[in-house]
């Protein structure tokens, strides 16, 4: 049973990645990204981290991809034509990326990763919440500030671009 689910998720992720790699239409790429992210959310469920799975669906599949699709559509309207992505230096790019991929696969296969056994944990979300506000309090507050800076920056640039 579980092996079927694993194969299904793997196919989902790979199909998404394949479409992103080979399509030139950015809207299609955005929807394919959604497929990949949902597949990864499934992987999180399989390793019993529900919170990550929920966050993955809500923030990435639900938020980031929608934002991307909106961005592409807005750009479409401005130019009045389809947004197509071009590519340069195709062969160098292919060689480098296949090389990096193969090298990392080899390295990961020979190296011992630190692993723990998958356990069912009832109050996982509560634990993560507590550790956000105790062990990782600095990171938590810092993320809030980073987001504020990004927001102010985006609004300010957009406003001044509109003025001119």
């Amino acid at each position: 049973m579980i092996i079927t689910v694993q194969i299904f998720l793997l196919m989902m992720v790979l199909a998404g990645v394949g479409i992103i790699l080979f399509t030139r239409n950015i809207v299609h790429a955005a929807y394919a990204l959604c497929l990949t992210l949902l597949g990864i959310a499934g992987v999180y469920v399989l390793v019993m981290s529900e919170l990550l799975a929920v966050v993955q669906i809500m923030l990435y599949a639900g938020g980031v991809v929608i934002l991307l699709a909106f961005g592409v559509m807005m750009t479409n309207r401005l130019r009045g034509e389809k947004v197509l992505s071009g590519s340069n230096n195709k062969w160098i790019g292919r060689i480098i990326s296949v090389g990096v991929f193969a090298g990392l696969c080899y390295l990961i296969s020979i190296s011992p990763f630190q692993t723990t056994s998958v356990e069912k944990n009832e109050d996982q979300i509560a634990q993560i919440g507590v550790s956000f506000l105790t062990d990782h309090i600095v990171a938590f507050e810092l993320i809030a500030f980073v987001l504020l800076v990004a927001l102010v920056g985006a609004a300010y640039l957009a406003k001044n671009a509109a003025d001119e």
Partner: protein, 476 residues
């Protein structure tokens, strides 16, 4: 440990981050005040926030790991913190119109917060987040001229930075996967014995080198430094760079690599490459600010080995070089800004300024200090650097240090030829359309004061070391 104990621990450790908290709150206060006022009031608030943060930083007596290992405080973080805050206060000397002042100071404060946290970072999470905070602010400040060229430079910087931070994030993932710890303080000589964590470490260095502008991650520097407003450039060329260097020093302090390890050699090799790239790049420039920016790249290469060698000499040299570098860069960009306001942008344009002898002489002295010639503090900084490299060579018996020393000496001599193009244009050219540039008295006095400080630090370098001791002991 129960929750109450944990919360009490956090409360006790909060003292270590008061300065950063004050800067964050100050940034938000600047933004709110900007709704009602502009100009002077914003500047006044900016100064008050800086002074307050300085006070909080000085009175903080905590050292070591705090907040469950998220941050690590040391002599360096506290003294460099003061240096950054003082550097930020010098931005008020630049002429800045009211139009974008609120957001400008907001982003400067956020970059300052990021830099302070970056050098204190002990957890991989904090390293990543603080570098991002600094980068976001820098991308936006680069575009503060709101012209096409500034936008272009900003987008290039953004794309380059996004790739570097993605690479770094991947490296952090690999390091965490193979060590199962977030904390830099738990690394030891065993941590990076396998190949995979070593690769992760290299990827982490990409992100840090991007901030220090070590080759090949230096490509964004010329366009960014040329197009950003002069005060933002002055700040960007000093504070984030020094913060990333302090972070690098902290990482290498854990003795995670021996001096004959290939990563150690790689980092030294990249440092040499940076000096060469910066020096050779500067020769071909016709724009004054672009030339200075290549000089700043070379200075990153000079500063890098001071973080790798573990000795008292190296720490003292790093502190001295940083202080002098901050002063020199601040005043160089200040004078470049003054000249640019008079339409003097290219090096050849400086031929028109031969009538303003006083400011020309001061500018020449500052550039001589950037080269590293006596009788200015730039010379002493270079001397300390060469001493440290020689000491590193004889103690570690690492022949690469000797090569580093040789390249650094040659580059120092070579930098004479490009830095002195500006004085040559001012004093040795026969230009017909001489015009006196429009300078007020305060500019002259300020530039002269900076120059006197550089002279003073040449004759009494121990002042800088004593200042470090003093700043470190104020809280007692």
């Amino acid at each position: 440990m129960n929750l109450i104990d944990q919360l009490n621990g956090i409360l006790a450790d909060l003292q270590g981050v008061w300065a950063e908290s004050a800067l964050m709150l100050g940034a938000i206060a600047v933004l709110v005040l900007g709704l009602a006022r502009s100009g002077r009031a914003i500047k006044a608030l900016f100064l008050i926030v800086l002074i307050f943060a300085c006070y909080l930083n000085l009175t903080n007596g905590l050292r070591g790991d705090i907040l469950s290992g998220s941050l690590f405080l040391s002599v360096h973080t506290s003294t460099f913190g003061i240096l950054f805050l003082i550097t930020a206060s010098f931005l008020l000397l630049f002429k800045r119109g009211d139009k974008h002042s609120t957001e400008f100071y907001f982003f400067i404060l956020s970059m300052l917060t990021g830099s302070l946290l970056m050098m204190k970072a002990n957890s991989l999470l904090i390293i990543y987040l603080s570098i991002e905070l600094v980068s976001f602010s820098s991308y936006i400040l680069t575009n503060f001229s709101f012209k096409k060229k500034g936008f272009e430079a900003s987008i290039k910087y953004l794309l380059f930075g996004a790739i570097c931070s993605a690479i770094m994030l991947f490296g952090l993932g690999i390091i965490y996967g193979s060590t199962s710890t977030f904390l830099v303080s738990e690394w030891n000589s065993e941590t990076f014995s396998a190949l995979l964590p070593q690769v992760g470490f290299i990827l982490l260095l990409v992100g840090i080198f991007f901030k220090i502008s070590i080759a090949p991650a230096h490509l964004w520097v010329p366009a960014t430094y040329q197009e950003a407003p002069a005060d933002a450039t002055a700040f960007m060329s000093i504070v984030p760079k020094l913060a990333a260097l302090v972070l690098l020093k902290r990482i290498f302090e854990g003795q995670i690599f021996t001096s004959n390890h290939w990563i150690y050699s790689l980092v030294l090799g990249l440092g040499i490459l940076t000096i060469v790239a910066g020096t050779l790049g500067a020769f071909r420039q016709s724009n004054a600010r672009r030339m200075i920016s290549f000089g700043a790249i070379a200075h990153s290469g000079f500063l890098l080995p001071l973080t790798l060698i573990q000795s008292t000499t190296a720490s003292e040299s790093l502190w001295y070089y940083s202080v002098v570098y901050a002063i020199m860069n601040m005043v160089t960009f200040y004078l470049l800004d003054v000249h640019e306001r008079n339409g003097i942008v290219e090096i050849d344009d400086y031929k028109q300024t031969s009538r303003s002898v006083w400011i020309g002489a001061i500018f020449s002295l500052i550039l001589v200090s950037l080269v590293g010639l006596p009788p200015l503090a730039g010379f002493t900084a270079k001397l300390f650097l060469f001493t440290t490299l020689w000491e590193g060579y004889s103690l570690l018996e690492n022949s690469q240090m000797l090569w580093y020393l040789i390249v650094a000496v040659i580059a120092t001599v070579g930098s004479l030829f490009f830095y002195l193009r500006i004085p040559r244009a001012i004093f040795l050219s026969q230009s017909t359309d001489n015009q006196s540039i429009n300078l007020n008295l305060s500019t002259k006095i300020l530039a002269t004061l900076f120059c006197i400080v550089l002279l003073l630090l040449f004759f009494a370098p121990q002042l800088v070391m004593e200042a470090q001791q003093l700043l470190n002991n104020v809280h007692e």
